[in-house]
């Protein structure tokens, strides 16, 4: 506690840096994954290829990706941009599968009905399929949030500042309180962002508030099963 | 003979599934338990093989209280057919039918022979033996379910809405098959359904249950029609809607049986 009181400024600063690294990656991966997921949902051939690619991407250890990515992008290893790109890739890897599943879960009857009442393909996507896929998309977003916020800390070992710096610094200087602060702060940040996404989901998708029991229990195993790459 | 003596099932949350049932199921006949959902008919059925234990009262098979019999041994001696067949998805049709005999320690070879014989009995082609349940139609799956229920040659066969999930045409076919089987095999069949027509078609004895697991009336189908106990029974068997009130009309010199709305039901043979 003492350590925290004396260093509250540093923790606050790292928290902001952490946010600045994770939020863009979370948003980018969410936005990019949805059209890819939709493609995987529509095209059987694309599904296999895309989901396999995502699986391969997700299997790559994060430290190795942080090191290897600059050889392709040209960014420096210690550049925050490098980290954001890597985190976005992981986010996409998680999110594409969920997005494909989310669109799969839209009842074919509903889709047919939308077409029958005269929606164009594009109109149907924006007005019917995307909103109805919403609850599952939000569930996927929550997994991405937790995994991204946690993964940012790994950047500390290669010199990218974040709450993870509290781990490396605390370890080198032998301060347990610093590491514990880092762990708690990281988890709190994930929790807050997660709560925000839930609230946003409720505001945007009011009809899903009392979702079917299957829907509710389905959101949890996703969160359970899809952990973060380390 | 199966006998229910003052059988009640109350769950810890206070719900009463079966409320004081006394009932005798005569041997080598078909008794149909019929009622709406929540009438405790399935619970009653499952008490016979101790899938459910009554909270009061006793179930006796040939005079022996089933509570004194090891449930696993009891279940292996009683055939059980359920809705959605309940087949093991990872085993072939043949292996599914062989399951109980193998559990009972029958040698593989004779279990196999018996299973092949049973497939024929229930009207399935031998070529289906090596298929998996997912490769069969709903009706075929139910046939396998019946074959599996008969595999250990039990005296008692419990059937829990076995034809509830198949389409009407296939259901009729399966119902007729069951009547044929019952004539040939003479098992003590206890059959659960919510369909009164199915109950009247298959049941030697029909037992109508009502929410809260109480017996409203039991008897032969004819008794139900001739003297329904109350309005609930009339409503359930359809007597109040004129479905069961038929009269004769002369058409082209033939005596045609019509219902209350004048729709023909058939021709009366001289």
């Amino acid at each position: 506690m003492n350590w925290l009181v004396q260093n509250v400024g540093l923790v606050g600063e790292l928290l902001l840096v952490h946010l600045a690294l994770s939020v863009p990656a979370i948003i980018l991966s969410f936005v990019i994954a949805i059209p890819i997921g939709y493609l995987a949902h529509r095209q059987r051939w694309a599904r296999g290829v895309l989901l396999t690619l995502c699986g391969v991407l997700y299997a790559i250890p994060s430290l190795a990706l942080f090191i290897a990515l600059p050889a392709i992008t040209g960014f420096g290893i210690r550049s925050p941009l490098n980290l954001v790109v890597a985190l976005t890739l992981y986010g996409i890897a998680v999110m594409v599968r969920t997005a494909a599943d989310a669109f799969d879960a839209v009842s074919p009857d509903t889709r047919l009905a939308a077409t029958a009442v005269g929606y164009s393909a594009a109109g149907r996507f924006w007005a019917v399929e995307l909103p109805l896929a919403g609850p599952v998309l939000i569930a996927g977003l929550r997994v991405v949030i937790v995994s991204t916020v946690s993964l940012v800390t790994v950047g500390a070992v290669i010199g990218v500042q974040s709450l993870g710096s509290l781990f490396t610094d605390g370890f080198q200087r032998g301060i347990v309180a610093e590491i514990v602060t880092g762990i708690v702060a990281t988890m709190l940040l994930a929790l807050v962002l997660d709560a925000l996404s839930v609230v946003a989901g409720r505001l945007l998708l009011p009809w899903a508030r009392r979702a079917a029991p299957g829907r509710r229990s389905s959101a949890q195993p996703v969160a359970v099963e899809a952990g973060e790459p380390a | 003979m199966i006998e229910f003596r003052g059988v009640t099932k109350q769950y810890p949350d206070g719900t009463v599934a079966v409320g004081g049932v006394d009932l005798i199921v005569p041997p080598r006949t078909t008794t149909v338990l019929v009622g709406t959902s929540g009438s405790g008919k399935t619970t009653l059925l499952r008490m016979i093989n101790r899938m459910v234990d009554p909270s009061q009262g006793a179930v006796l098979i040939d005079g022996t209280d089933v509570a004194t019999v090891d449930p696993v041994r009891l279940r292996r001696s009683i055939g059980y057919v359920m809705q959605n067949s309940g087949l093991l998805p990872h085993r072939t049709v043949l292996d599914n039918v062989m399951t109980v005999p193998l559990l009972n320690g029958t040698r593989r070879q004779s279990a196999r022979a018996r299973a092949m014989e049973l497939l024929e009995t229930v009207g399935l082609d031998a070529s289906l033996a090596q298929k998996y349940p997912a490769q069969l139609s709903g009706g075929q799956q139910q046939r396998v379910g019946v074959a599996r229920g008969l595999a250990a040659d039990p005296n008692i066969l419990l059937m829990d809405e076995p034809f509830g999930a198949v389409d009407p045409l296939v259901r009729q076919e399966l119902q007729q098959e069951l009547r044929r089987l019952q004539r040939e095999l003479g098992k003590t069949v206890v059959f659960v359904t919510h369909d009164i027509d199915e109950a009247f078609l298959l049941g030697d004895q029909v037992v109508l249950l009502r929410t809260g697991g109480k017996v409203v009336q039991s008897g032969t189908p004819a008794e139900f029609l001739a003297s329904p106990a109350d309005d609930f029974v009339s409503g359930f068997v359809g007597a109040d809607r004129g479905r069961r009130r038929l009269r004769l009309e002369e058409v082209d010199g033939q005596r045609v049986v019509v219902d209350e709305d004048g729709r023909p039901a058939g021709v009366l043979e001289p």
């Binding site: 190795a64 762990i183 380390a230 | 696993v72």
Partner: protein, 247 residues
């Protein structure tokens, strides 16, 4: 592409493979540590997950434990254990075991839970004992998902073992931390490519095992269900779990 050429050159440099801190030694360390951790974690988590999945009791606990543990930042856990237990293998091994438990627990639990309740009910009604239901019904049907959990855990362990090199003189991660100090990017990239290859091989191997342990009848049932349009209503989460999730 020059960078990659240098990395490949480093990977194929015979001098780099020999010695107590050569690639061979580091690779072996990485594999042995990962395997030991995986076995310990599996011995702890699989039976617990199986019991929870079979009985349905403690479900909330399992979800909370696996969910909560997963939100833990791995580097934080590693460094914390490093401070407590000092330099050496004990700290990373213990931390890795803890981090490997969630996917194993979730896999075992989900595997057993994935079996249709009606199938289990039918098995019981036929007269199978509880042990027979577990051995002849739940395990064969749920095994692909259990293996999926092991697959996730294996990838997690291989990845986190890279970070373990931050606090112990072990594994392929050493090349990266040494490379950071000496600014030897070829070595860092080479080691990264090697561990990526390792992860993909392990992932592929487990994917193969998953396929092999999927009973034919179950696979047919799955394709029959996902083949027709209406069957698509199957809860997406369930399918995600069934097909195993990369971690």
């Amino acid at each position: 592409m020059n960078l990659f050429a240098e990395a490949i050159a480093w990977l194929f440099g015979p001098d780099n493979w020999a010695g107590p801190s050569g690639i061979t030694a580091r690779l072996l360390q990485h594999l042995v540590v990962s395997a030991v951790v995986l076995v310990i974690a599996a011995v702890i988590a699989l039976p617990v997950g199986g019991v929870i999945g079979h009985t349905g009791r403690g479900k909330q606990l399992a979800v909370m434990v696996s969910g909560g543990l997963r939100a833990l930042p791995t580097l934080g856990v590693l460094t914390l254990f490093g401070l407590w237990l000092g330099i050496g293998l004990r700290a990373p091994v213990l931390a890795l075991v803890i981090l490997a438990i969630p996917p194993l627990l979730a896999g075992a639990y989900a595997g057993f839970e994935s079996v249709d309740r009606r199938t289990i009910d039918a098995a019981r009604a036929m007269g199978m004992r509880e042990t027979q239901i577990v051995g002849k019904v739940e395990l064969p049907i749920g095994l692909p998902i259990v293996v999926g959990g092991i697959r996730s855990a294996a990838l997690q362990v291989i990845a986190t073992a890279m970070l373990a090199a931050y606090l112990a003189d072990v594994g392929l991660g050493r090349f990266i931390f040494e490379g950071l100090k000496t600014r030897d990017y070829a070595q860092m990239l080479g080691a990264s490519l090697l561990v990526i290859l390792l992860a993909l091989v392990v992932d592929g191997a487990f994917a193969l095992v998953q396929r092999l342990v999927t009973p034919t009848g179950v696979r047919l049932a799955r394709s029959a269900r996902t083949g027709g349009e209406p069957a698509r209503k199957r809860t997406p989460a369930r399918r995600t779990i069934t097909e195993g999730n990369p971690v």
